[in-house]
């Protein structure tokens, strides 16, 4: 079986300028900070970032946006990252906002081979602009399309050497759906254990989805 454990430097070296990167986490919870900081260190540029919130002060994805590595953001909340807010004011097309549940479903659809989903969320609001509306049994839904990325950077508590991930607490957030939705997936973890040590009932994310496991800080 192929070795999946890499240094952050090795794992991030495969990222290209212009890539679309999904970054797991919810504010400072469950964020792959060592991996994202390596993007800054390696000077990757013109990135698109999908993130729940692009972080708050102290988060690596916050610094990534502030340091100018990101051209385009997809998120649901950017209230704690003024730089993302500034990007949106200067160029409204550079930041796309979706309702949080819609963003989660779009990413899941991308990873699960679905073309999109119908959600009632956003009907009658500006979120419906430019989207197809479909009526079923007299109820209106928005067609929200699947979202995929080149790279996903996610965070877990424990990985085994096959990439199986155990996440604890509220750190699952967007990490789970993003693991399915990118061509190249880097999982940053607190601890790496040999194959066979994890209870298969407790695995949050199947190891077959993970390309690189990186030891976090």
């Amino acid at each position: 079986m192929k070795n999946k454990v890499f240094s952050a430097q090795e794992a991030v070296a495969r990222v290209k300028d212009g890539d679309h990167i999904m970054v797991g986490g919810f504010l400072q919870g469950g964020t792959p900070d060592v991996t994202v900081r390596e993007l800054i260190r390696q000077g990757k540029k013109n990135l698109t970032v999908t993130s729940n919130d692009t972080g708050r002060e102290g988060c690596a994805v916050y610094d990534l946006v502030f340091a100018g590595h990101v051209d385009r953001v997809i998120a649901d909340y950017i209230g704690l990252n003024p730089k993302t807010g500034q990007m949106m004011i200067e160029n409204p097309d550079s930041v796309q906002l979706f309702p949080q549940g819609t963003l989660a479903e779009k990413i899941r659809a991308g990873g699960f081979g679905l073309g999109g989903i119908l959600t009632p969320t956003g009907v009658g609001t500006i979120v419906e602009q430019g989207k197809e509306k479909i009526t079923i049994d007299d109820k209106e839904y928005l067609l929200e399309l699947a979202l995929r990325a080149d790279v996903a950077m996610i965070r877990a508590h424990i990985a085994d050497e096959a990439g199986n991930l155990v996440i604890r607490g509220t750190a699952r957030n967007f990490n789970v759906v993003m693991a399915f939705a990118a061509d190249y997936v880097i999982a940053e973890v607190d601890e790496i254990v040999p194959i066979g040590e994890l209870d298969p009932n407790h695995v949050t994310i199947p190891g077959t989805l993970i390309d690189a496991v990186v030891k976090g800080g």
Binding site: L27, Q100, N173, V177
Partner: protein, 220 residues
Amino acid sequence: MNSREIIARRVAQEFQDGDVVNLGIGIPTLAANYLPEGVQITLQSENGMLGMGPAADPDQATNDLTDAGGNPVTILPGGCFFDSAVSFGLIRGGHVDKTVLGALEVDANGNLANWMIPGKRIPGMGGAMDLVTGARRVIVAMEHVNRNGSPKILQDCKLPLTAKGRVSLIVTNLAVISVKKGGGLVLEELAPEVSVEEVIEKTGAPLEISPNLKPMPILD
């Protein structure tokens, strides 16, 4: 009793034993401190938890267990964790009985605006649109007027909406107002020392007066 406490105490009376409730940041969160006797509720946190408990002690705080504001919290016995897709499945699928949120504006048709001020502040809608669309009962908890003294309860919201026609009840520091199915506001309760006239004056939409108009039941 200050405004926030009046609102929080009155909101708490809306909860029934066994309710699953999602509380917005600010006044709504305070409501959990004033549960009626014998009423236990389960708090849902949209970042991925049911059974959210109080804030974590500093020595127990971890980024792997936070509330939707990113603050370290605890989980109560009988709680559980899940990812964002499941969390919003619970919310959108009608598995959250009540949500309580603040508002910038709310109107006579139950429309709510609480996520952006064009040209000024666009923090994003976060989970608010899904919560207001999906929760079985949407309660707005807010000061009756804004900082300039202008009504926040209007005939029609002027700000971009969070969701259309989903608000059932408005609880403010002055009054409790219900939204009729199909539209229209009914003044149901008055806060201590508040008159019908004062509420009418500070409300930007016509108010029907309930035949059962009564004082807010917010005794300790």
